[in-house]
Symmetry: D2
Amino acid sequence: MIVRIGGAGVCRTDLHVVEGLWRDKVQVALPHVLGHENAGWVEDVGKEVESVKRGDAVICHPLISCGHDLAARRGDDMHSSGGLFPGLDSNGGYAELLRTGERSLVKLPRTLAPKDVAPYADAGLTAYRAAKKASRHLLPGEFVVVIGAGGLGHIGIQVLRALCAAEVIVVERSPDALALAKEMGARHGVAADGNEVQAVLALTDGKGAEAVLDFVGEGGSVNAGIAMTRNAGYYYVIGYGGEIRISTMDMVASEKTIVGNLVGTYAELVELMALADRGKIRLATQYYRLAEANRALQDLRAGKVRGRAVLVP
Amino acid sequence: MIVRIGGAGVCRTDLHVVEGLWRDKVQVALPHVLGHENAGWVEDVGKEVESVKRGDAVICHPLISCGHDLAARRGDDMHSSGGLFPGLDSNGGYAELLRTGERSLVKLPRTLAPKDVAPYADAGLTAYRAAKKASRHLLPGEFVVVIGAGGLGHIGIQVLRALCAAEVIVVERSPDALALAKEMGARHGVAADGNEVQAVLALTDGKGAEAVLDFVGEGGSVNAGIAMTRNAGYYYVIGYGGEIRISTMDMVASEKTIVGNLVGTYAELVELMALADRGKIRLATQYYRLAEANRALQDLRAGKVRGRAVLVP
Amino acid sequence: MIVRIGGAGVCRTDLHVVEGLWRDKVQVALPHVLGHENAGWVEDVGKEVESVKRGDAVICHPLISCGHDLAARRGDDMHSSGGLFPGLDSNGGYAELLRTGERSLVKLPRTLAPKDVAPYADAGLTAYRAAKKASRHLLPGEFVVVIGAGGLGHIGIQVLRALCAAEVIVVERSPDALALAKEMGARHGVAADGNEVQAVLALTDGKGAEAVLDFVGEGGSVNAGIAMTRNAGYYYVIGYGGEIRISTMDMVASEKTIVGNLVGTYAELVELMALADRGKIRLATQYYRLAEANRALQDLRAGKVRGRAVLVP
Amino acid sequence: MIVRIGGAGVCRTDLHVVEGLWRDKVQVALPHVLGHENAGWVEDVGKEVESVKRGDAVICHPLISCGHDLAARRGDDMHSSGGLFPGLDSNGGYAELLRTGERSLVKLPRTLAPKDVAPYADAGLTAYRAAKKASRHLLPGEFVVVIGAGGLGHIGIQVLRALCAAEVIVVERSPDALALAKEMGARHGVAADGNEVQAVLALTDGKGAEAVLDFVGEGGSVNAGIAMTRNAGYYYVIGYGGEIRISTMDMVASEKTIVGNLVGTYAELVELMALADRGKIRLATQYYRLAEANRALQDLRAGKVRGRAVLVP
């Protein structure tokens, strides 16, 4: 299955791969083509493929799975064994063409073009899955904190607004991102200035939020995030780079839950596309030509990208 | 509401209170009567009490709650605010009589005597709640590890056997406790000798268990427990004293969940009594007279108690 | 506990009581004061009451429960035994003062006045609970049908919009109500003209909706409602008067689920008030003086009430 | 994918197909080979098949699905569109060889032979799925009624025992089947003699059971089954032939739920095999040679089969 790339998202994980952060988890053989957020048009299909045809606009689920092990049969694609993750352990979408599998392709509704949705394939899907998990237990009158309103966080806020009625509080260092977060539906903005725990407690009767989604996952965000989680509440780890450190006694006395989050399933990517199709979520994107990939990565590292960077042909 | 004590469980938490471990969490005024695992007979009731009468055999839920805040109205007794926890923040059951509230009393079926069930009030209820949470997602063909087959662990094993069909693997230092665990229904016993992670991986296709219940929560058990949890699996913290330390990247890449566990609800104590009534769980107990309370505590500290120690009149 | 009535909702169930439809379910002793949707101000409290005080604005959960049986302890107030339901089996709120219990009172946020919220106590709570049940399984890209956009239905539409991202299709006879439904957030309106099943199938790829909420429950709505439910979907019965009739073979082959719905819990009334407080739902109301109660009932029977009728002092 | 049949279960649905009961649901072209409960050994595989190889002992999930539609991607195999159901809409396993698909095959553990497990493919899987649904909400101290302890029912009883701690009450006409049911773990046996509703109410404090699994689904079982379901409880329809008829008012006032049940997923068949492998369920079978298929069907119709009939080579 070959897909002609219409858009390839540029992700902080790409920087992490370059920096060697994933060295222990996956083997990257050089030369390596980055790019795990891909969308485009079907260019060529195998003989037995029936679900898509040449020319169809598609977004690619980041994992290519065989579909035969038990995790896959339960719909839990990310924990299927033996799959490939283009851009991480095989060649990705910073290219004109991408080799992928039939099982990875989600057909796009006519309202959505590949270059507009590429970052949903991983960043969007990750934010969606975490926000969906939280929305399963968040009730009206409850609170949810989003730490970090960048590329993933600003999608997470919109998904929370679409899937539940809890009040969204955003914790963020950048005043610009905080302003954007409020546009996206956050009710309260809190500056990440070292007093954010007190600020969140003040907004939540001194008890903290029923759910905290941490899109930063490093620096002070972990301790702060757990501290602003209410007893019996849930702290969702999405960003990474830092460390969780908490006594078992505090875990027991508070009965908190700490949840790791990893991308999402094929079906969840279909759900996310439905949200985008209905206009319930929108993406702030900044385009670069494929030949400018290195500049895009440098801009991302320098914090110059607003929303998500996308490479286009 | 006054209850004449028929049995008062002696718990490791009592030692922790003496040692000052709970100093930051609750205020203990001296002199203080320990004892938060209480059962007996209703001695005296207030005018408006209708649900029990003098002479009824009862077990006491450890928390006295008002019943009017939102957590209580949702059945989430342990997270109700403003309650009392006799033996911890008010006088407990190392005594002839205990002052408690109508909302704390569960009537005992005729098959169960107070001195036989007292440890269920806290130790049993804690083990039950954690095992019940795990049983909600454990499917036939899956694995559950119980770390520590002592007072709580041996109840946890039996509850798991009653509520789900997952295979139970017990990790335990003491050969005696390991033998007891197998009698209680564990399928595999693993010595906690430093190689327990490898041993559990070998039993689970190299992938780990879908759920790990850690009744130790200190020393090497925390790292080992998280390591033997399968990707997308759940690590339940029940014992305490140690520390959880894990990188956010490992949490994300593995999508594991870490769950704190705190006693259980009133309804869960009713459920636990139903299990005991039907003979699905039994308790290894060792009796001491009330006057021998100090000796019981010393035996517990010295590791000389098999199962649970109970003070009787 | 005495509440001075600020608003008493007039409900179709009141007509059903007059007509004798409830004769088999509850004993109504004459003279009888109707009124089970009550809100007002605390007038007098018993000695031991701590959760409210004289003057507090409150809405009354329709059931007065003791709080001591197992259903109540699990938060399942409606299935608690031995409670009273003022207006149905004891005197209700078509009056200046209402006798109720501390456990029935939900304090109102300052944004909400008793006369504006009274119908939420039963009509709103019933619609909320059914919509909440459906929202638990409705995913983005899925469909939910609301049959009947009257007093309950127009609340149900708004709750669905607040709690999930499924597309709402409204089936309704009255063009006015259909227009109102679209204002409230329904995406598609379908005339209940005998072709509604075909119309819904046409909107849902020929497969039907994942959830159908039937606020009519009589006449053709039952057969139509089940027919427009997708295989593996849920048909929620809220309105009553008619009959469900379906072969066991159709139930098996379609794997549909039929769900009865009865008011809601105390905690759900708190959640509903949070939605109203945040402006996520609003109520179309028409006021009558208490002395005009009979006229209000007649208008309701004649179909002259838009939204809900409320009696005020 | 070709499977050499080692065992083909003979099912009441085969009689129903002969009788024309399924005429409205599926097109059966004559000549037609019955048999939808198949197990055997892989005889021949296509080029790209990797998950099984020639000689593997397998049980066949009854539905051959493509795996590409959204239901399949969520693991909901039975509601995948466009699949084939050998024995119903294509040729089945009353034969030496069966044509099926890679996605249908579950490898058998070494403890299980094809002829011993064939009836699990449909009868067992159906009973498993319904019992699993019920076990998700059944708590210790609660009751579950099994109506009909025949081919499916006796599996259902064992699954309930394995997956939850609720007390099992069996309602059954045949004293022999009732005796078998008690061996399988039912605590109470009730004769289906017209007084079964009263008998079940007497065993359940006058309130009925939290779950009723109706493996009969015709004659008096439907009305009786719904009547013996407790308020807020669940009535599971598994057998068919009769009709459900209940007023919407009764559904609303009781808040009961009626659940249709259709076979089960691929993953659930894996789970069921794990139960069989561990000895948690066993099957009463009666063997016939393939050439005696007609006699097996006649014996089944005449009520002469104890447990399940299985055709062997």
